[in-house]
């Protein structure tokens, strides 16, 4: 199998392998994803990409540009606008030995495929007593801003994280985007990879060699002693900015990038909360029954004795996303909200 020789990064620290080598080239988040896809297609003939318009000149925010030209339309396949049926097609191909990557321009289209994702992809291994696996990767993008409004900006990670049998990852950095995507293509079960439109221009050192990051490992992005901020996706950057502000105010914040919302890296979070005694969960999604609720529950269940203040959550208010810029600004929480939450916990 082409994937068994590939190095896995199981570290949870901000220091990455690769950084000790020659200075690594910088790639943007979009380039890192494109490189991961290209390498997967090259390494493993079972891999193919499918999705509406993935061969467009724009190439799904630039993440698939040039791949159709390089690998042909059979392996980089434009699809009918039939998300549920095509998810079933991807599952069928996966259980018969292929490794499809189904790409959606917006996470909002995933509710069309809930039957195939939840009833089929997530259940097939279990229902067949582990005899038939579904090595399927679904990429979906959270849109945000510029009036994207209610049906083009949703953060639906909690819906999928709720379902046993699915893994759900949310890379926040280019390095993770490449590693988590390759990790999910390499995995034998279905994984939903949720990207964020505002991250595509982020840059950092990304090793050229393929490497995988397995779902289930968070990463400490900044160490601190007074409060733990567990953040997902784009909120990691808001959390880091908040941590800088808090430092000026004499509060030392530790920032954990959750990276994987199913499974959640329980050990990492608990260890941190035991150290800081305070927890803020910052998620790109809604609060009610959301990922932040899961993180908070974890502290209540497994680190209760260490908590010096009630857990705080920084998430979306219970409303669909508005279009008007003024309402949009009110809708999305940012670093200020995290700073305020931390100050209130003093």
């Amino acid at each position: 199998m082409p994937w068994t020789n590939i190095q896995a990064d199981d570290s949870r620290s901000p220091v990455r392998f690769g950084s000790e080598e020659q200075p690594v080239r910088e790639l943007s988040y979009r380039e890192a994803i494109r490189e991961a896809l290209s390498q997967a297609l090259e390494m493993d003939e079972r891999v193919f990409l499918m999705g509406e318009g993935i061969d467009d000149p724009g190439g799904v925010f630039g993440t698939t540009v040039g791949l159709m030209e390089k690998f042909g339309e059979k392996r980089v396949m434009d699809c009918p606008v039939a998300e549920n049926g095509m998810t079933g097609v991807a599952i069928g191909a996966a259980i018969c030995g292929m490794r499809p990557v189904f790409i959606h321009m917006r996470a909002d289209f995933l509710p069309m495929c809930m039957d195939q994702i939840i009833n089929h992809a997530a259940k097939w291994s279990y229902m067949t007593g582990g005899k038939v696996k579904v090595p399927l990767t679904i990429r979906a993008v959270i849109g945000r801003g510029w009036g994207s409004a209610a049906q083009h900006s949703q953060s639906l990670q909690a819906l999928f994280a709720h379902i046993p049998g699915l893994k759900v990852v949310m890379p926040a950095s280019p390095y993770d985007a490449k590693g988590l995507l390759l990790g999910s293509i390499a995995a034998d079960g279905p994984t939903v990879v949720i990207e964020h439109r505002w991250l595509y221009d982020q840059k950092e050192g990304v090793p050229e060699k393929p490497y995988v990051i397995h779902a289930g490992k968070g990463a400490v992005r900044r160490e601190g002693t007074d409060v733990t901020i567990v953040a997902t996706s784009y909120m990691v950057y808001e959390a880091l900015r908040a941590a800088s502000e808090l430092q000026l105010k004499g509060i030392s914040a530790e920032v954990i990038d959750l990276r994987s919302v199913q499974p959640v890296d329980e050990g990492l979070i608990i260890e941190s909360v035991k150290k800081t005694g305070r927890l803020i969960a910052a998620d790109t999604g809604w609060k009610v029954c959301g990922v932040s609720a899961e993180v908070a529950a974890l502290a209540a269940e497994k680190a209760y004795d260490c908590l010096k203040a009630p857990v705080k959550r920084v998430c979306l208010p219970a409303a669909p996303a508005p279009a008007s810029a003024v309402l949009e600004r009110a809708y999305y929480p940012g670093f200020e909200d995290i700073v305020r939450a931390a100050e209130e916990m003093r």
Binding site: P80, G92, C96, V132
Partner: protein, 324 residues
């Protein structure tokens, strides 16, 4: 039934499959009240000819996909009766290790990647299997069984569209028993034969008598042949009738779920009896041949049931195995 000119071995094989399905289902119906099989069972009694007439054209490595009512499909595709029985009893030796039950049967070694109890759920999976065959160039054909109810679902249409677009080696097999649970087809669909839906997707569609195993055989032969020779998908509609209630071992006629007169008419069209008559009148298959088949099958069913009953349950500690 029209004369087929099929060799005696083929006729015997068809008979053996139909007989196995009928008698396996009858045995379940008999044993079900013991309440040892603790899962819902959707019996396919009365619909045996379709599974038999389609699967006889498939190789071991070809794929079939099924539904909540797939005991017959799996038997026809070669699933070991013991692993089927053990699954119904919730045992570790079951084809799905007791995780699936009657509605989720899988046997990848016999080209059965699984069955879905979501109406229409498996249709796109079969198309994906066909896509994988083309991508790998392994020549495998993918057949999917589904009911008339699945034609109500979007997945049916999405699947036909895509299979046609990519000319995939898929045979869509609709078992039209005119009911989805207790809702008659006429309450759910306009009066257009299901087979005719194929035309709008640019693929051949054919309707045939699903209780006449030789009609099924002929239609499926053409469809599987087309799939195998890169000619693309076919939609087959087989008219048939389920003898038992939608779910469970009993009849649903007395409680008024379906009309008694139609039921009586269909009973006279018993696929097994029709075929027995045909064999007697038009073939060299002898009564002795049939008796041999029947006693062998009864013995296999006895053994399967005994195996299913006696083999061990999964251990509760294994509850969360196989999730990923």
């Amino acid at each position: 039934m029209k004369k087929s000119g099929l060799p005696a071995d083929t006729l015997k094989q068809l008979y053996a499959t139909m007989f196995t399905i009928r008698h396996f289902e009858d045995r379940i119906a008999l044993l079900y009240p013991e309440q040892e099989m603790k899962c819902p069972v959707h019996l396919c009694t009365g619909q045996e000819a379709i599974a038999a007439g389609v699967c006889i054209h498939l190789k071991k490595e070809d794929y079939i996909f099924g539904t909540h009512r797939s005991h017959g499909h799996c038997i026809a595709k070669g699933m070991d009766l013991r692993s089927l029985a053990a699954e119904l009893y919730g045992k570790s030796a079951g084809c799905s290790r007791g995780r699936g039950g009657s509605m989720h049967l899988a046997d990848p070694d016999h080209g059965i990647p699984g069955t879905s109890a979501i109406v229409g759920g498996c249709i796109p999976l079969a198309v994906g299997a066909g896509l994988s065959s083309v991508m790998k160039g392994d020549g495998r054909v993918s057949a999917v069984f589904f009911g008339d109810g699945a034609v109500d679902e979007g997945t049916f249409h999405e699947s036909m569209n895509f299979a046609s677009l990519k000319k995939l080696p898929v045979v869509f097999v609709c078992e039209n028993n005119y009911y989805a649970t207790n809702s008659p087809q006429c309450a759910r669909q306009p009066d257009v034969p299901i087979a005719e839906r194929a035309r709008s997707y640019g693929i051949p569609g054919k309707r045939a008598d699903g209780n006449d195993v030789l009609s099924v055989y002929a239609a499926a032969k053409e469809a599987v042949g087309r799939a195998r020779s890169a000619g693309g998908p076919t939609l087959l509609e087989f008219e048939t009738y389920r003898w038992k209630a939608h779910v469970g071992p009993n009849s649903d006629i007395e409680n008024g779920c379906r009309p008694a007169d139609a039921h009586q008419r269909w009973l006279k069209k018993c696929p097994l009896e029709m075929f027995q008559r045909y064999l007697r009148e038009h073939s060299s298959v002898t009564e002795e041949d049939l008796e041999l088949i029947e006693s062998r099958v009864e013995r296999e069913i006895d053994e399967a049931v005994e195996f299913g009953k006696k083999s061990p349950y999964p251990d509760a500690s294994e509850l969360t195995e196989y999730v990923y």
